[in-house]
């Protein structure tokens, strides 16, 4: 694929006076699973919204040479930036195959859109295999399990050939096994693409993150490897200051289910 990186510099987002993101800079490269964490309201999702054109932001977000900010949503997508949402949004009334086919279709000519589909694109088959959805080809997306919907969303990003995958809480509501499968999937995908994950689940972060950026009140608090971030006194302070020692503990030692609940209470 490409070795272009996603470089965000001094990103600011304001909502009628309220500064949701106040000068955030970070970068993400192919080959790493990049995590964006922080307490609720830290501006994680807003960052993604700004990069994908959903919210208006100032500063800069570059993919390789191309500036993303200020472009229309669908044009940013065409530059290779794909995203998922906190609540899985797939086309419930279409089958898995139809969902993926639409995702794969933006390169198609208008004329070919007017024809019925014959066979399955190789890229779709590959994505199905990658995400373990091969058996669900003809299933209507609306009746997939929650985890499967999330995977379908990731598969859609794969067939649309996104260079950057921005994933907003991809493992929320998943079982332990599903989380592990998702994490491994992300690591495989990240070999060739930029993967940026917004997550609350600290256990998941610890297991699969290559590098982490901690946001707090719209600013970058700390950046580095999992170990570095956990050792950062500023991070500890923020988490101590907001939700008590338990959360800091959760970040390092407490088993996953408890960690998840702690984070929920903090919401």
């Amino acid at each position: 694929m490409t070795d272009a990186s996603l470089v965000v510099t001094d990103l600011r987002v304001e909502f009628s006076g309220f500064v949701a993101v106040g000068g955030v800079s970070f970068d993400a490269h192919p080959g790493e699973v990049r995590f964006l964490i922080g307490p609720n309201g830290a501006g994680k999702t807003t960052c993604i919204d700004a990069i994908t054109g959903l919210s208006k932001g100032t500063g800069s977000a570059r993919l390789g040479e191309k500036e993303l900010l200020g472009k229309q949503v669908h044009k940013i997508v065409r530059l290779g930036v794909g995203r998922t949402f906190q609540t899985a949004s797939v086309f419930d009334e279409l089958t898995v195959l139809q969902n993926l086919d639409i995702a794969a279709g933006r390169h198609r000519s208008p004329i070919s859109l007017l024809r019925a589909r014959r066979g399955v694109d190789p890229s779709i088959e590959q994505a199905l295999e990658e995400t373990g959805l091969s058996g669900e080809l003809a299933t209507q997306a609306g009746i997939l399990s929650h985890g499967q919907k999330q995977w379908l969303e990731i598969a859609m990003l794969l067939v649309q050939d996104a260079k950057v995958l921005l994933l907003d809480e991809p493992v929320a509501g998943m079982s332990h096994d599903e989380r592990t499968a998702t994490g491994e999937l992300l690591q495989r995908i990240a070999a060739k693409r930029i993967v940026l994950v917004v997550e609350h689940d600290m256990d998941f972060m610890r297991r699969f993150a290559t590098r982490v950026t901690v946001l707090h009140q719209g600013k970058v608090l700390s950046q580095g490897s999992v170990a570095e971030v956990q050792a950062d006194p500023k991070v500890q302070e923020v988490y101590l200051g907001t939700a008590g020692a338990a959360t800091t503990a959760a970040m390092s030692v407490v088993p996953e289910p408890v960690a998840a609940t702690k984070n929920r209470t903090e919401d």
Binding site: G82, R83, T95, I102, L113, A116, Q140, I143
Partner: protein, 364 residues
């Protein structure tokens, strides 16, 4: 749509074609054949509404506008053809000395008229749709704005008596592209054209529904933002469906004129536009045959009950809206599937790949 379902629909169109083009002309009197032709015109417009509303989620409440573009283009041509070299009679009535209005001149040409019937709705729907969809006007706003357009156009026509015939409309056409309209054989020919075009329109949406575009349209209807995040511009997807539906309304309007013999603002205004919606809602907006059959049923009610028992007909029409929306949101065409689902065990999911919108009530 699965393959088998798709080919089943195609054979359904075949059966429908045989009924309209072979059985009906043999069985019906000239009078009823002409009536059936009128219903076909409404059905053509309805097929387009099914595409825009049923599949595309755009509640087009002003299809009377596009119906009018076709109808008045045709009516102006037929009026000029009937008048020959003279100024049309109704114009002379209001002002004997004034010349033919400028915009009438080109409609002397049969070619121009046919082009206008096709291109005018495409251009108008293109501009209107582009403006509205790019600005993400949708849902009820879109419905109200299109309805407002129909109201405005009807008012405009009503008030320009000398230019368009006003409320009395355009009528008394003697010729149809050289054919004498009084001749029953020629009347039958016009019927055949309308019926054939209805079949063509059904075939067109059949192909659209099974195409990738059809899937994309449904996807846009259900999750417009998500489609945007796949790199498409949903405005373009909707625009195509809107333009095609406008074109169909125009074709329906154009054939309405020689079949019925008169066009007035009442046939294109708010009430008429709502009547078109009624048929589509009744038949089943997202299904292939629902809009056409529903429109024919409502058309029949309108022209038979509407004249013999007008009070009752309006009540029926009003109740139709209420009952369909409350109890049968996807129209009569969803009835078999719902009955079948009711007969099965309640926990069994209906076949996942039936007409998309039939699943709406499962969800809600």
């Amino acid at each position: 749509m699965t393959k088998s379902k798709s080919w089943l629909s195609l054979s359904g169109i075949g059966v429908f074609a045989v009924l309209l083009l072979a059985v009906a002309p043999l069985m019906l009197t000239d009078h009823w054949l002409n009536n059936l032709g009128k219903y076909c015109c409404w059905a053509i417009a309805a097929v387009g509404i099914g595409l825009a509303w049923g599949r595309g989620g755009m509640l087009v409440m002003g299809q009377g506008v596009f119906f009018a573009l076709g109808a008045y283009s045709m009516a102006m041509h037929l009026t000029l053809e009937t008048a020959g070299d003279r100024i049309p009679g109704f114009m002379v009535l209001y002002d004997p000395l004034a010349p033919l209005p400028m915009f009438w001149e080109p409609f002397r040409s049969a070619t121009f008229t046919l082009l206008a019937i096709v291109l005018l709705p495409v251009i108008v729907a293109g501009i209107l749709g582009y403006a509205l969809f790019k600005r993400r006007v949708k849902g009820a706003y879109f419905a109200i704005l299109t309805q407002a357009l129909a109201v405005a156009l009807a008012v405009l026509i009503s008030s320009t008596i000398r230019e368009t015939g006003g409320d009395t409309g355009l009528s008394d056409f003697k010729y149809f592209f050289g054919f004498v309209l009084n001749d029953p054989a020629n009347k039958a020919m016009v019927y055949f054209i309308a019926a054939a075009l209805l079949i063509v329109c059904l075939l067109a949406v059949w192909q659209l529904y099974r195409s990738r575009f059809g899937e994309l349209l449904v996807a846009t209807r259900d999750a417009e933002e998500r489609v945007r995040f796949l790199g498409y511009d949903p405005a373009n997807v909707k625009l195509v469906a809107f333009i095609v539906s406008a074109l169909m309304a125009s074709i329906g309007g154009a054939l309405f004129v020689p079949i019925v013999g008169i066009i007035t603002p009442a046939e294109i205004g708010a009430a008429a536009s709502i009547l078109m919606i009624a048929g589509v809602a009744f038949g089943g907006r997202a299904s292939l045959f629902g809009p056409a059959l529903g429109a024919m049923a409502v058309g029949w009610g309108q022209s038979s009950l509407g004249s013999t028992w007008p009070e009752g007909w309006t009540y029926i029409l009003g109740l139709l809206f209420i009952v369909v929306v409350l109890f049968l949101p996807n129209g009569l065409s969803s009835l078999p599937a719902r009955l079948a689902a009711a007969r099965r065990k309640p926990d069994v999911q209906p076949t996942p790949v039936i007409v998309a919108a039939e699943l709406e009530e499962v969800r809600s």
